[in-house]
């Protein structure tokens, strides 16, 4: 029942809520699943030195990032008893309030789903070569820094 098919992680622009709904719907046929944990990263309209972030423009070292996503996937399936796992990350511009990261982990029981999902998110933040320009209204920007 394990599904380890490699799909494209990067999507251009924001990840739409309806795409997330459709992804959930696809799991209706997988009746060994008892628990899904879904993490969504959303762009915040942070205020930085008096200017408000209107969007983040994501870029990446794509070849290395795809390798890293594959390594994360292999390691998480080796460690946890999962039914399936999907990762989507935005590339290009994502406005404040829109979704830039979608991690979807499914398992028989909740413990595995919770732990694996959290671990995948931490691994992405730590090990995948992705950067973001926080864009302001006047088209100036600062480079985003991740906090723990």
């Amino acid at each position: 029942m394990k599904e380890k098919k490699k799909h494209k992680v990067f999507v251009d622009g924001p990840i739409s809520p309806s795409f997330i709904g459709e992804s959930i719907a696809k799991h209706t046929t997988k009746t060994t699943i008892g628990a899904h944990d879904i993490f969504l990263g959303q762009v915040r309209a942070d205020e930085i030195d008096g200017r408000v972030v209107k969007a983040i423009n994501y870029s990446c070292y794509e070849e290395m990032a795809e390798d890293k996503f594959y390594e994360i996937r292999e390691a998480i399936f080796a460690k946890y008893d999962l039914t399936c796992m999907h990762i989507y990350h935005s590339r290009g511009e994502v406005k404040a309030g829109e979704i830039c990261l979608f991690v979807f982990v499914s398992s028989r029981h909740r413990k595995m789903a919770f732990e694996a999902c959290r671990e995948v998110v931490e691994e992405i933040k730590k090990n995948v070569p992705i950067w973001g320009q926080e864009l302001f209204e006047d088209n100036s920007f600062v480079w985003k820094e991740n906090k723990n």
Partner: protein
């Protein structure tokens, strides 16, 4: 001997392009010395280097045609 250096994020802002060629660097330490000499602003910048998509943790020998990436701190998610 030519090394292809690809740069990302704020490092690309400092260098002004996404790809440069560097000659006569036989290892990553000498490459780093050459880059910080040519682009002094790199000294104030945190980064790691990756050779063929693998982040290196110590000095690594380089051969003609190798691809080295200069990666500022990751900020995905």
């Amino acid at each position: 001997m030519k090394i292809e250096v690809i740069v990302f994020g704020m490092i690309a802002d400092i260098i002004g392009k996404q790809k440069i060629e560097v000659n006569n660097c036989s290892d990553t330490t000498s490459l780093q010395i050459k880059l910080t000499h040519d682009y002094p602003k790199l000294c104030q910048q945190k980064f790691v280097m990756a050779v063929y998509k693998k982040v290196i943790t110590g000095n690594t020998n380089l051969n003609n045609g190798d691809v080295v990436a200069i990666l500022p701190p990751f900020a995905g998610g």
